[in-house]
Amino acid sequence: MKTRLAKFPFWHEAVLALLLVALLITANTMEPRFMRLGTQIELSRHLWEIALLALPMMLIIITAGIDLSVGSNMAMCAVTLGLLYEAHVPMPLAIGAALLVGIIGGAINGAFIAFLRVHPLIVTLATLSAFRGVAEGVSLARPISGFPASFGLLAQGTFACLPIPAWMFIAAAIVCSVILAKTPFGRFLYAIGYNENACRFTGINVPRIKLLLYTLAGFMSALSAIIFVARRNTAKADVGTGIELDVIAAVVLGGVSIFGGRGNIVGMLLGVVLIHETREFVSWHWNNDELILVVLGVLLIASVLLNSLFSRRSRSD
């Protein structure tokens, strides 16, 4: 423990920051237009759903858990929103209902994980297909379109130079970082990730914390779903397909250990931004979708590899 503390603990963040700076300098030389602030703000609109989901995902992975169902949960929420709007329910009520569905979905995950103590991978693997199936079943896979323009502003609008979802994310990120760094709850998350059994013995209410976390993930899924529907003006059962892998990739790239107990919000933010900028830049310059896949895959492995070369920290938790 002491030797680890004696070493520089933020190699991972440093590597990510370095990669990000290198990328942005390259981008600036090759594509000055890409680096304009206006361009960046517009392109950032592709990011916020993933960023919002990355927050609860980080907390969950810190407790050595995982949530694969966030994308499918989004679909349930989107479909709820769409069907209610179609049934002439006032928009605020429909939004409320969508949030509620997300929370219920998350709580179902949480209950299985916290009280039945089933491994989160298994539970959320099951709900990954179950939630999507419910969304398809209830909506019969129909798209629902034509939402009011005022609702669209929720995602397409701008407030004080930044897209509205960006402000939602900033607020959520600040709350998250305060909780993680300043509250006992945050400490408990790390403790659970390090050694769950020990936590149970010391009287930490592990099941309650887990239930809360997965419910939070459900809430954020709903929020992302609402933003997505507002942005694309369409609610459909395929919303959020595959987003879970993007989110998890960003979080683990950000240095959040998949074995739990380690990770911080700065690293996570760097991971999210690095993936976003890489994707957008490769797309901008090369216009080649398959190249993006290769670059992102290599980036994911290489950055963690670089990190393990720089820091010789032990992986035996």
Binding site: L116, A126, N197, D289, G297, S308
Partner: protein, 325 residues
């Protein structure tokens, strides 16, 4: 018999029961379901998941995971097609087969080395591979399909030997070998030792790294085998082969009772899991529940898994202490 084996067995019984019930219901509602031809087709359908499942069971038993199997199958299919299609490399089929198996083994080896030597967590390595290999496949195929597979290759997918499909022989061979390997070899027992307690295994003088490299390489090889017997069932090789296979196989393995945290799990359980999840779609078609039922298919699949988990949980309630030790 030690309690862990008993617990593992119990999950197998539960899955076997669910499988038997599903088949019975489908058979009663629509007797055509039980026709020999249909049962054979179902078996042929689940061959790739079964073969890859054997390898993945060992990976998960060591406490690691491999979610790159679907994308590697896609890449291997592209390689196989490009090697033996007369419009491309046009190599003799046996050369292409050997090279495909080698390529599969190599992908597995790279995964294993990255996990052990470079110490990158397996979920990151294989998530990266999942993405990168799919991109590589798209590049290799360059927007075209391969439609001129030589008939010798098609034989691997559609031909029969002694009245049984080649793919079924191959699956049987892989399953039996895997079971024997797990039960009767020193290396097989070490795989379990590494998974249940890596520190103890290390202290006992086992090379944890080498064993992990071995299971990843084995999985890569088996993905190659699965590619060889399943891809030539169809006449076209395209860039989307194997999408989602990783999700299916991981689900089958964990439904079959393998513990995701390592140390526990059997091949039989995995095969039963493959059977259960593999027949859902076919059963739903044979039950003929009407047009709308298809929209609920995924919900039913997910519900199946949750139900299995719930049943298992109640069965294990008394033994929980041991299960989580």
């Amino acid at each position: 018999m030690n309690p862990l084996t008993l617990l593992a067995r119990r999950r197998e019984y539960a899955v076997a029961l669910a499988l038997a019930l599903t088949i019975a219901v489908a058979g009663i509602v629509n007797p055509a379901f039980l026709a020999a031809g249909n049962l054979r087709d179902i078996l042929v359908q689940v061959v790739p998941a079964a073969i890859v499942g054997c390898g993945l069971t060992f990976v998960i038993v060591t406490g690691e995971i491999d979610i790159s199997v679907g994308s590697s199958m896609g890449l291997l299919a592209a390689v196989l097609g490009q090697l033996c299609s007369p419009l491309h490399a046009g190599l003799p089929v046996w050369v292409a087969v050997v090279l495909t198996l080698l390529a599969g083994t190599l992908i597995g080896l790279v995964n294993g080395l990255l996990v052990t030597v470079a110490r990158v967590p397996s979920i990151i390595v294989t998530l990266g591979m999942l993405t990168a290999l799919r991109g590589a496949t798209e590049m290799l195929m360059a927007g075209k399909w391969i439609t001129d597979l030589p008939s010798a290759l098609r034989f691997l997918g559609t031909g029969s030997v002694l009245g049984m499909r080649v793919s079924l022989w191959m699956a049987a061979l892989v399953i039996v070998t895997s079971i024997l390997f797990a039960r009767n070899t020193a290396l097989g027992r070490r795989v379990y030792a590494v998974g249940s307690n890596p520190h103890a295994a290390h202290l006992a003088g086992l090379s944890v790294g080498r064993i992990k490299i071995f299971v990843f390489t084995l999985t890569g090889f088996l993905v190659g085998v699965a590619t060889l017997v399943s891809v030539p069932q169809l006449s076209v090789i395209e860039s989307g082969i194997g999408i989602g296979l990783e999700l299916l196989v991981v689900t089958c393995v964990v439904v079959g009772g393998t513990s995701i945290s390592g140390g526990k799990g059997t091949i039989i359980g995995t095969i039963l899991g493959v059977g259960l999840l593999g027949i859902v779609r076919t059963v739903l078609i044979f039950l003929n529940l009407g047009e709308r039922s298809v929209y609920w298919e995924r919900a039913i699949q997910g519900g199946f898994i949750l139900a299995a988990v719930l049943a298992d949980n109640f069965a294990q309630k008394n033994k929980r202490g041991e299960a989580h030790a």
